[in-house]
Amino acid sequence: MSECAVQRDSCCREPAELKIVAFLCNWCSYAGADKAGGSALPVPPELSVVRVMCSGRVEPTLVLETLRQGADGVMVLACHPGDCHYKEGNFRALCRAELLERLVVQLGVDPVRFCFDYVSAAEGEKFSRITCEFAARLRQLPPIG
């Protein structure tokens, strides 16, 4: 919790200015986000969660469109490798994330604005930490667009 507070102190933009969209798979990451709530861990208030059934549902264009719509950053969070409720959706998501990381650079977007990671249903703490860190990194960047 303190880590997040420190990062927020060092930020150069007001929290409300930031817009973050996080695609969470229903089975692990979304449950992990709920777990963060159950443990009263901080999550950046600028983060809007969009629930999907599996990280494999998130196509690269959806991420790009979200950035174009004005999001400062987009996260795709998945079950850990081997844990996807649909067997291999997270593997597809990983492949698409790798593609996206290269693609956004071509489009002149700082790759820092995109984050792919794994959060299990038990990892409330990790969800809190990576969302806070992501927000802190985004605050260092100028507004998008």
Binding site: P15, A16, K19, V21, N26, Y30, A31, A33, D34, A36, G37, G38, A40, L41, P42, V43, P45, E46, S48, V49, V50, R51, V52, M53, C54, G56, R57, V58, E59, L62, E65, T66, Q69, G70, A71, H85, Y86, K87, E88, G89, R92, R96, S128
Partner: protein
Amino acid sequence: MTMRYPRTAVILCACSGIISEKIDWTRVETLLADHPSRPLFRQDQLACGSDELDGLCRWLQEVKAERVVVAACSPREHQATFRGLLSRAGINPWFLQLVNVREQGAWVTEDAAAATLKATRLIRGALERVNRHRPLAARSIPVHTRVAVVGAGPAGMQAALTLARAGREVVLIEKEPMIGGLPVRYDELFPNLECGPCLLEPVMGELLHGPESEQVTLLTLSEVTAVKGSFGNWILSVRQKPRFVDVEACIGCMICQEVCPERRQNGWNRAGELAAIGVPFAGALPNLPHLDTASCRKFRGEPCEICSAECPVEGALDFEAQERELELEVGAIVLATGAEERPTLPAGFAGRDLMSAYSFERLIATNGATGGDLVKADGSAPVSLVLVQCAGSLDAGHTPYCSGVCCREALKLAHLAAAKVEGLTVTRLIKEQSVPGLEAGRQLHNDHAAVVRYGRFDALSLEEGPAGRVLKTGEGTEVPADMVVFLNPVLPGAGTAQVAELLELPRDGAGFLGQLHTLAESCAAPLRGVYLAGSCRGPGDVREAFATGTAAAGLALSALVPGRDLVIEPEVATVRPEACAGCRTCLKLCPYRAIEWDDAARMARVNDLLCRGCGTCVAGCPSAAIDGLGFTRDMLRAEIKGVLS
């Protein structure tokens, strides 16, 4: 562009103060008042409470709500509750959007003003999204409760019996002329040296003659040749080779076998001979001979009908019998197609008295070629025996894995061999040794064999020495080797490969059938309505065969219940025919084989019975021709627009 928004009701739950201590619902109402959907708000103390639900139901009807947004707790908790509320209020349950403002709002946000703004944003997303919702409905279809079990080894028999005991109709399909699988051919089983036939005969007897046999249709000499359909409604094509014996008329006296003048190799014993008509070994069940057309004189055009002349039952032999093609309608399939041993010798090995563990088991079996005597090809007893373990296992050039069952087998064989030939020198050659468990530990403790470690399988060699034949390891150790038995790795059986291909089931790196989940769902295939039992799942022993046979039957029983239709959830993928370019990318993406190619329409089609709604195909379709109901592109984009505006 103006669009008509449906009349949207928004329920703001205080969760008995837990949410409202952070989120100011009145402020949220103010902030959203000018949303073009002109939402109708209602604050509630505890929306999930049963009294409150009654009140909410009346209110939704009064305001004639067409869409409902509930800002409360996680959908993982109360989505079903609120879908039920919509149903009761006469609204399609899929016109609901839940906003998680408790776990992902009030509880994770320190600052009340920030929490209020966040809730506002999320509800704005929901208002946009719910407007794009389409009415959906679960559909239900009747199912067959009959189950096909493929493979009549211990696992398949146990599955069939368990199903039959529950009153289910079962079709048990076996490619061999007899049932019982491999262990029925072993004289003694690990760990207690129980005799294989003694363990399995009661099971086989119950299947063939017990009260449950009424429910069981046994098809021997049969193979599945095609599979159509899906969970609940499979159609199996089965080809049954003729036995040339009328199973109803035959009394199993085996006079035909005695009088037959022709001989063939006994493949089941991998040694000795067998009459052209007969059973592979004494005690094989069902107790019916079968005729081998390749060796039978009559089928070779010679004038021989000795067997039918001597048969005491008229018409029991039927030389005119034809191959049968059957079509079976079943709801579920249990695969118990087993594993096999592929005899492998080290490079350059040749000579007498070299055999695999299976051949050795049959050699020392009382119903085997020598009546249970442990003798060499020349009929004399061996003076020394080498059991080569890990024979091709843990070897990049052969099989990389450890089968996990051969060490126990070797301990058993060492013990049995020593008991058969007095003074026999037994050596176990090992690479590694894996003998977990109490019983195996006891056997290891009582083992008198010399143990020699070796490195490479292909570096083993045979040499004739002054004191007889020796086996030399690559490291230079020599052991007396009058007879050598190789414990080869356990590999997937030919039947396993065949069903995998027919059902397009994934296989693991070794070729065994892939499981829905290796820990939690190891007896279910990734294809719905297909269950796995025994060593088609991977190397295993008799105990595991029985356990997984029971487990697979349990899964089939709970999936298909008489009188209970199959409910198909509507949140599945669907293909827009006009947009499908026919690239077939989705067919490969789907982890459940739920997408089929419709050749006539030149497009992909989703089978909603098999689709689990993960959306991988939706994301992967290059033409955006597939959409995921309940999570359509349109809905997600609207939600994103809402939370970002």
